[in-house]
């Protein structure tokens, strides 16, 4: 078996969650890699939508930005951005939304806005973009984030997008009818919200990773499911397709 990087198994584990029936709202970076890997391997009929307005797109290289020409060239059609947010996202037509963030808490709320006080930030992050509404309108949310003490926070300085709020029932109390984050895929393991509390709980651990490693990279006391499984290692096919995709992408963006 090949060796692979933590980032590769994270992307590959995420791609395996997708199916031909999914309509995905795809973000740039790891979500885009995971969705296109799924499309190029087990789910050729998956529908990919980027918030720039491209419907059912099939890029041959990964876009650097959310609106590269490649996305439009290979799309079924392209709609305006107001239409994208009104008819397609708010319209409830997306089954899976991908999110990442600078910081996450144990209930899968995300911060991509500021570190420090809002008015005098220590670090000004890019802001929410589509995330606040992606988080509530998509059927379910997959989050992809590498673990680390500065990212997996006991308490967020700012909530940019809603996960499970303060725990089970928070979404319902806000009148939100979608499932929210159902998976957090990291470079070390996969979390799922606990059925009773909605707290993120480790259900699958990547090969060779220890529980101590996971805890060392998380700012809250990590819960592990009663029985965790080992994440299947990346297959040759998965690795080859992902690496080819990323090599094509790198060549294209350097041009």
């Amino acid at each position: 078996m090949s060796t692979y990087s933590p980032n590769e198994i994270m992307t590959i584990a995420a791609s395996r969650l997708l199916t031909n029936d999914d309509v995905c709202f795809v973000g740039i970076g790891a979500p885009s890699a995971a969705c296109n890997l799924a499309r190029l391997t087990h789910s050729p009929k998956i529908t990919l939508i980027y918030e720039s307005g491209t419907l059912s797109t099939r890029p041959t290289v990964l876009p650097l930005s959310i609106g590269d020409g490649e996305l439009c060239d290979t799309a079924l059609t392209t709609v305006s951005v107001p239409e994208m947010f009104r008819y397609w996202l708010q319209g409830g037509r997306i089954t899976v939304g991908f999110l990442g963030g600078a910081q996450i808490d144990r209930f899968a709320n995300l911060n991509t806005t500021v570190v420090g006080p809002y008015d005098q930030p220590k670090v000004r992050l890019p802001g929410g973009g589509g995330a606040p509404e992606i988080a509530i309108h998509c059927g379910q949310i997959f989050i992809i984030m590498a673990m680390g003490q500065r990212a997996f926070m006991d308490k967020l300085p700012f909530i940019t997008s809603l996960g499970h709020g303060t725990g089970k029932g928070s979404r319902e109390a806000l009148g939100v009818k979608t499932r929210g984050p159902t998976r957090l895929i990291t470079d070390l393991c996969v979390f799922e919200p606990d059925a009773d509390t909605s707290e993120l709980t480790v259900t699958s651990i990547h090969p060779g990773v220890t529980r101590d490693q996971i805890q060392a990279n998380c700012g809250w006391p990590v819960k592990f499911a009663a029985s965790t499984v080992e994440t299947p290692a990346p297959s040759e096919l998965e690795l080859t397709v992902l690496r080819d995709l990323q090599a094509r992408t790198k060549a294209a963006h350097a041009a």
């Binding site: 740039i28 970076g29 918030e51 720039s52 307005g53 491209t54 876009p63 650097l64 930005s65 959310i66 609106g67 590269d68 020409g69 996305l71 439009c72 392209t78 305006s80 951005v81 107001p82 994208m84 947010f85 009104r86 996202l89 708010q90 709320n109 806005t113 809002y118 008015d119 930030p121 220590k122 670090v123 000004r124 992050l125 890019p126 802001g127 929410g128 973009g129 589509g130 995330a131 606040p132 509404e133 509530i136 309108h137 700012f158 909530i159 940019t160 997008s161 809603l162 709020g165 928070s170 979404r171 806000l174 009148g175 939100v176 294209a252 963006h253 350097a254 041009a255």
Partner: protein, 286 residues
């Protein structure tokens, strides 16, 4: 009725100190050439609006032209931070930058409401998040049929909107294609507008019956600037200069390298420089 003007004349005529300005473009068709002319003419105290402020707004902010920024996602897409914007927010260099922050859904709806001449837009959003705590312009209305409380945002009504489009015809009608973002809405929502285009054609010829066209009588000035969207792109004309976006991270990280780059490439340059970039990244088959 649109007037055909030179870029310096269009900016001099339509952009004023203190204006609220939307230079829109969702990755595609970002009006770099026009934005650089605004920098050369040293317009002051601008309130800039854009869903996705990227390098162009980083440049305007770094050059000290901007008083306030209304936005929903401010970054160098796929690369990282906007260092000049962060320097303004975090360190007040070159001066303090006021910000008004929304989500994409809110901003897209706000442009749509502006184009529709409504004072506000209604959407379902901002559940369980902190932005409404720091932005007093995020409010709500109650549905008079279901009782549901929905989020609202004030309509965007810029003093002037600036966009880059693919082409204009001799009457000054303007055509867009591809990722059209909120550009049509930006022009329709604004009091005045400037549209730079890749080319001016006799007429558009055969086209889709539902082509995205801004009629001449909705546009202020039309200016031909070949390559005017570089390092962004113009569908069918030239590709996005992704290497430049990656390179901007280094250029913009320090104040000195940023100022030097601006001096060489903006202050002491002009709209003609964009044509060379259009040729460099030209799409093979048009």
């Amino acid at each position: 009725m649109a007037e055909f003007l030179s870029l310096p004349d269009a900016v001099a005529r339509h952009v004023r100190d203190g204006d609220t300005v939307a230079m829109e473009g969702f990755t595609h068709l970002i009006p770099y050439a026009a934005g650089h002319e605004v920098i050369r003419q040293k317009k002051r105290d601008l309130t800039l609006i854009r869903m996705t402020p990227d390098i162009l707004y980083d440049q305007l902010i770094g050059m000290g032209l901007v008083k306030k920024l209304i936005f929903s996602w401010a970054g160098n897409p796929g690369v990282g931070s906007l260092h000049r914007m962060r320097d303004a927010v975090e360190n007040h260099w070159p001066h303090k930058l006021e910000i008004e922050e929304h989500s994409h859904a809110a901003m897209a709806n706000a442009f749509e409401a502006g184009a529709a001449n409504l004072p506000f837009a209604v959407f379902r959003g901002y559940k369980g998040v902190d932005l409404p705590k720091v932005n007093p312009n995020i409010r709500s209305v109650t549905c008079p049929y279901t009782g549901e409380v929905l989020a609202t945002v004030p309509a965007v009504r810029p003093d002037v909107s600036i966009i880059h489009a693919l082409k204009a015809d001799r009457e000054g009608n303007v055509m867009l294609e591809g990722i059209v973002g909120v550009q049509k809405e930006a022009v329709l929502a604004a009091k005045r507008s400037i549209v730079t285009v890749e080319e001016i054609v006799e007429d558009f010829g055969p086209r889709n019956a539902n082509a995205v066209i801004l009629p001449s009588w909705t546009v202020g000035a039309v200016v031909k600037v070949q390559g005017g969207a570089h390092p962004s792109y113009a569908q069918g004309y030239y590709k996005r200069d992704n290497a430049f976006y990656i390179g901007w991270d280094t250029i913009s990280r320090e104040r000195e390298t940023f100022l030097k780059w601006m001096d060489e490439n903006v202050i002491n340059s002009g709209p003609d420089a964009f044509a060379a970039q259009a040729r460099r990244f030209a799409v093979a088959a048009k």
